[in-house]
């Protein structure tokens, strides 16, 4: 009897989730239009170009480490890592669980232009470049997708939802059913989702996620949050450029966490002595900007300084801590589920209030002169929220510019003209 009940409960948990793990139609052939190594070379080239542009302003010495990691120092390490590598999209997947299972989490969101061509053969043209680029990464078997034993995708925006399906033809993919609101009911369903993820990861890695391991990984990631908060507080003194700050965050997607914590601690020590170099202080918000697509950042930082960003690939990825109330399995999982869900400012949620409050607080904290609202072309969610943000910022007398672009370099000059005009306006407003 008890066995039957147990099985019934188990079946409740697993209905509908097992499907994604099965690759129904078998692995498709990996597409490779270009020459062997061509895309890798292009990726490096793109990175180098970014570094050249970033070098216009003197960079802290500590940044060299992050440059090396993003250039591909980490690829070899992950290649020789023996254990599971779990890729994920969005900043909504509990990394603690992955670390606790002994696997390595890697965030796969991509900002590489050249893989878009590859994926456009399989995907429609009119979808967000991030989805196309990320899909192309997997299809053309580039790092870090190629090391992944599994991909976890939260069903955030429409693009991500369907990305999960198309990717499941190539790699095992699990989706996390993300509710659309932040009601109590949604929180509970998200909590169940996290519990299921725990079971799945346990099954994949074959190692049980014990309380002790979970606690250790929560403490480890809390250390990371502490370091990041220190870095974030330092940015109030505008000691570092926006592109450098974003690079710091984005290396944490791949890098060995202990080393990252140590290096960032060192970087913070260095930055303490850095001088203030702000002229026009800007806040960057909107769609994710991901290496190597630093086009917009490079244009802006020719003349002004991005003191803070509110991107899910930036501040939002590391800002919130897991606050554990009770170190029981349930307590820890709940704390974890809540950290990724409740404070999220993702526009996938029906209400944008949380995001607007966060933005206003940043405007106050960082004494911002203007706001750059970046919208990735065909990202309707961020686009839809722009109007409300603009109106509220107008009430605070903070100018805002909406830049809508994609990963290509075609519109660089256009954007530059608009940004320059905006900065001119901001400067005049500042003097008044």
């Amino acid at each position: 009897m008890l066995q039957k009940i147990r099985e019934f409960i188990k079946s409740l948990y697993e209905t509908g989730y097992e499907e994604e793990a099965k690759r129904k139609y078998g692995i498709r052939k990996i597409l490779r239009e270009e020459k062997e190594g061509e895309l890798e070379r292009r990726l490096l080239e793109e990175g180098e170009r970014n570094f050249r542009l970033m070098k216009k302003t003197p960079r802290p010495k500590g940044m060299k480490y992050y440059d090396d990691v993003i250039k591909g120092k980490r690829i070899k390490e992950i290649e020789s890592f023996d254990g599971m590598v779990i890729g994920y999209f969005c900043n909504l997947v509990p990394e603690e669980l992955i670390y606790a299972s002994g696997a390595l989490p890697v965030r796969l969101c991509s900002g590489f232009y050249d893989t878009i061509n590859v994926s456009e053969e399989l995907l429609p043209k009119d979808i967000c470049p991030l989805i196309k680029s990320s899909f192309g990464f997997t299809v053309s078997n580039l790092p870090y997708s190629k090391f992944c034993n599994l991909i976890v995708i939260p069903t955030s925006c429409d693009g991500k939802k369907k990305l999960a399906e198309v990717l499941s033809n190539y790699l095992p993919v699990w989706t996390l059913d993300l509710p659309n609101t932040k009601s109590t009911k949604s929180k509970e369903s998200w909590f169940v989702e996290v519990k299921i993820l725990k079971k799945k990861i346990e099954k994949l890695t074959g190692a049980k996620i014990t309380n002790k391991k979970l606690k250790e990984s929560i403490e480890l990631l809390h250390k990371r949050t502490q370091v990041f908060r220190r870095f974030y507080e330092l940015r109030k003194k505008s000691v570092v450029t926006g592109s450098d700050a974003l690079l710091v965050v984005q290396t944490s997607f791949y890098d060995d966490i202990n080393r990252w914590i140590q290096k960032t601690e060192e970087l913070c020590d260095e930055l303490e002595e850095n001088e203030n170099k702000s002229d026009v202080r800007l806040l960057l918000t909107g769609s994710p900007i991901i290496w190597p697509n630093y086009k917009l950042l490079n244009i802006i930082e020719e003349h002004a300084l991005i003191v803070v960003d509110e991107l899910c690939s930036g501040t939002q990825h590391l800002y919130d801590p897991v606050v554990v109330d009770e170190y029981t399995t349930n307590g820890m999982l709940k704390a974890m589920a809540e950290r990724y869900f409740s404070p999220s400012t993702c526009p996938c949620f029906t209400s944008s209030d949380d995001r607007i409050d966060r933005l206003l607080q940043m405007v106050d904290d960082f004494k911002v002169h203007g706001v750059i609202y970046y919208v990735l072309r065909l990202c309707q969610l961020y686009d839809l929220e722009a109007q409300k943000v603009r109106q509220i910022l107008k009430g605070k007398r903070i100018p805002m510019i909406k830049i809508q672009t994609d990963y290509s370099q075609e519109d660089v000059e256009q954007i530059r003209t608009r940004i320059e005009a905006f900065l001119e306006m901001t400067k005049t407003k500042k003097k008044l």
């Binding site: 009770e326 029981t328 349930n330 409740s342 404070p343 409050d357």
Partner: protein
């Protein structure tokens, strides 16, 4: 465990010792030169004296602290009677107002200044509940969250319980009911209170048995046993008894608009939900407030776990008469 909780535990342990063993420690009567207008009520004649001994207050402090151990344990030297006991007894015996009012006034003043600070920091029953929680936590067991609708019902139920106790006390004071019935309804709050069963163990005394030899007694005793089991269910449901405690219900009337206020910077709040999750009273007010600064409310026992665990600097603040005493900090 944050700084505020550590401080709270310290205060809790001390007040537990003082309240439960205070009668032994402070054998001598406590004189109150500071409060000359509050005198311990003297012996006075009243109807029904022949049934039960009337109140014999010898110490001022005896009478107005919201929870102390029961009058049934007078000989052991424990502090006697919570305020609810005093209230219900005074009404029952129709204590003259000149004895009753100063105590009531003092108690209301204490309520105004501290509100349910009492519940979170001082109350020995609350402390025992916290100890039960600590034991459960160290065993690695999860706590149970009550369904929202049920929780809302409980919040209202405590006021029903309070008015029930006061009404019964009033009913006894009116000499219409037959004496046998009245005798069994004396101090109904104490008859039902889990403290009646719990405190004697700490004081080294056998608790008085729950009587079932008449319908009235059966009614009160079964309610008492129900509340006792609710108190021990506090092992799984954090501070279960505190959610329906009638004494807490009385103090909670002064929680909003009192001297202690809890404030939230709504813009700084990231809605991470930590305050709701850590709340032992399952109070959603702090989390849900999005417009007003003041988040004090009747259900809050001011244990300040939310302030302690809030990861946003300065987002939650506790003020005493407008002066900041505690604030949240990222750790």
């Amino acid at each position: 465990m944050g700084k505020i909780t550590t401080l709270r535990r310290f205060v809790q342990v001390i007040s537990f010792v003082v309240i439960v063993y205070g009668g032994i420690i402070f054998q001598q009567q406590i004189d109150t030169p500071l409060l000359p207008f509050v005198k311990a009520p003297e012996e006075f004649e009243s109807e029904g004296r022949e049934v039960l001994p009337g109140p014999e207050y010898k110490q001022v402090l005896d009478t107005y602290a919201p929870i102390k151990s029961c009058r049934l344990l007078r000989e052991k030297g424990m502090f006697r009677g919570c305020f609810l006991h005093f209230l219900s007894e005074s009404i029952t015996w129709a204590t003259p107002l000149k004895y009753f009012l100063p105590h009531l006034f003092l108690f209301v003043a204490a309520c105004f200044f501290f509100g349910r600070f009492w519940c979170g920091w001082i109350c020995p029953l609350g402390f025992i509940s916290d100890v039960l929680t600590m034991i459960r936590r160290s065993l690695g067991l999860r706590h149970i969250k009550l369904p929202e609708a049920f929780q809302e019902g409980l919040a209202k139920f405590k006021y029903i319980l309070l008015s029930f106790i006061i009404l019964i006390s009033l009913a006894i004071a009116i000499p219409i009911l037959p004496m046998t019935l009245r005798k069994e309804m004396f101090i109904p709050g104490c008859q039902m209170c889990p403290g009646r069963f719990v405190f004697p163990f700490f004081a080294g005394e056998t608790p008085t048995a729950y009587g079932f030899y008449s319908p009235t007694l059966t009614f009160f005793s079964s309610l008492g046993l129900l509340f006792l089991s609710i108190f021990f269910m506090g092992f799984f449901v954090r501070r279960f008894w505190c959610r329906i405690c009638p004494s807490g219900a009385f103090i909670s009337l002064f929680n909003v608009g009192g001297a202690i206020t809890k404030e939230k910077d709504v813009q700084k709040c990231t809605r991470c939900g930590t305050c709701e999750r850590v709340c032992v009273m399952q109070n959603k007010k702090v989390y849900e407030e999005r417009v007003n600064e003041d988040v004090s409310n009747a259900e809050c026992i001011l244990c300040l776990r939310c302030v302690d665990s809030c990861p946003q600097d300065d987002c939650l603040k506790v003020k005493f008469l407008g002066n900041k005493i505690f604030k949240s900090k990222f750790k």
